[in-house]
């Protein structure tokens, strides 16, 4: 299977561990990632400023992939939502499609609606499948209790076709079980990381992050796993600061799902960018568990 690899903004400019681990893990699962030139921001983070801008930018990125005749793999749930929503709108509204295509023609691009858009979770769970993941496990994660975090945009709004269920998502949990982890429910599972508030209320964003991680820590989880560069930036890179907002010293190892899969596949830690995680991941990876 071959996909245009649409990186978005946050992952390729600072969340390198997600990109590194995806580029290691996906080819082992027979997914070929094609890097294309010419992508831009998906527009979703600017929806509050101008929704037409979001729609046009999203359509533009789909058009870049369509030019190469490829389906799109968008590992960032925000990008995945922007692109999926644009597809939904443009495929059902010919006038809007004409209007957006009028914007795109200067760059010699045209949205036609031929490309599918998939997220990490779609690829791993639905397209590759649990059985195939299991086959490649060399060193299963033993006795690790994991809190899974899906991220708002991965599961809502359902109407736009999200990778997992809006109230009871479990595809990531199934994958974690397949690589030997123990995933357990926790009451804060669906809580938001607050990441989008960084634009104007960064302190409140950190409080949201801190509240969720505090709950996870108090319930004795060994680690926390996510699939969104925005969420991960909050929970991993900003964990210490988030702890200050809830008056707690937070020490929760935070991983990308693809990093944990890579570890179970026996891929070296550096190749998975595990040295880049800011949270205390060594509690898990150095055989502590």
């Amino acid at each position: 299977m071959k996909y245009a690899f649409y990186p978005g903004c946050v992952m390729p400019t600072e969340q390198y561990a997600y990109e590194l681990s995806i580029r290691e893990v996906m080819p082992k699962l027979d997914i070929e990632l094609v890097s294309l030139k010419g992508f831009s921001c998906c527009g979703e983070p600017l929806k509050s400023v101008n929704q037409m801008l979001t729609l046009s930018l999203a359509a533009r990125n789909i058009a870049v992939s369509e030019k190469e005749g490829l389906d799109i793999f968008a590992p960032c749930p925000m990008c995945h939502l922007a692109l999926s929503e644009a597809k939904r709108i443009l495929d059902s509204d010919p006038n809007m499609k004409d209007r957006v295509n009028n914007y795109l023609k200067d760059e010699d691009l045209i949205y036609t609606g031929t490309s599918d858009i998939v997220h990490t979770l779609d690829l791993l769970h639905d397209i590759i499948g649990i059985e195939k993941i299991k086959e490649l496990v060399k060193t299963p994660l033993k006795d690790i209790t994991i809190a899974s975090h899906y991220g708002c945009h991965t599961i809502r709004p359902k109407e736009i076709g999200r990778p997992d269920d809006s109230e009871n998502p479990e595809k990531m949990d199934r994958i974690l079980e397949a690589i030997g982890g123990k995933s357990k429910y926790y009451p804060e599972k669906l809580d938001c990381c607050g990441g989008l508030l960084n634009a104007n209320l960064p302190e409140s964003a950190l409080t949201k992050t801190g509240q969720k991680l505090k709950g996870v820590q108090e319930q004795g989880f060994d680690c926390f796993v996510d699939i969104c560069p925005w969420c991960h930036r909050q929970y991993d890179a900003r964990q210490a600061k988030a702890g200050e907002t809830v008056a707690t010293k937070l020490e929760v190892p935070v991983f990308y799902l693809t990093q944990l899969i890579g570890m179970a596949f026996g891929i070296s830690h550096d190749k998975l960018g595990l040295n880049l995680n800011q949270s205390p991941v060594e509690k898990i990876i150095n055989g502590g568990k």
Partner: protein, 175 residues
């Protein structure tokens, strides 16, 4: 092409404002018919406890047409876009979409855009991405850039001037 074109109250914004107004009008009609103020949206709102956002009140205010009052209020900028209100409304009203429309209207009406939105917009206009490549520092105090990690060149618009032309049309096109 500058940020002002996309956001300010210039002549070119008339059309954008009309469109947002139409969107709000449509949302208003839907609400009048469907919202019965059960406040399920507010009970699950991620911004409610922390920042006192009450989506059911936003809906009620829109129903009464108090748009100016809302676009002048900072409360519309406390939404985290988690989409829980839209997901859970028993009547399929979507407060989050009302908030997006109100924020768009505030911007098109020349209100000050809060926080980093201006910088994010400026960055998209100049390099096509929200931010430029950053170097990251590990816990062992080692710094790495994209290329140090063996990652390929970043993907961004091939011709920035053509990309900006596309964006500028968004601000001025009369539809």
């Amino acid at each position: 092409m500058s940020i002002t074109d996309l956001t300010s109250m210039g002549e070119s914004q008339t059309q954008i404002k009309k469109e947002i107004n139409d969107r709000l009008k449509k949302l208003q009609d839907e609400i009048s018919e469907f919202c019965y103020q059960c406040a399920k949206c507010t009970s699950g709102c991620e911004a409610h406890k922390l920042l006192e956002l009450e989506p059911h009140k936003i809906v009620a205010l829109l129903k009464r047409g108090l748009i100016d009052e809302m676009i002048n209020s900072e409360v519309i900028w406390t939404c985290m876009s988690c989409f829980k209100c839209r997901e859970r409304c028993p009547q399929k009203v979507a407060p989050v979409e009302i908030l997006f429309a109100l924020k768009n209207m505030a911007v098109a009406s020349g209100k000050q855009i809060p926080g980093n939105y201006t910088a994010m917009l400026q960055s998209v206009l100049s390099i096509g991405l929200l931010q430029d490549i950053k170097s990251v520092t590990t816990k062992q105090n080692k710094s790495y850039s994209r290329s140090d990690l063996g990652l390929p060149d970043i993907s961004k618009p091939n011709d920035p001037s053509k990309f900006q032309t596309m964006l500028s049309k968004l601000a001025v096109e009369k539809v």
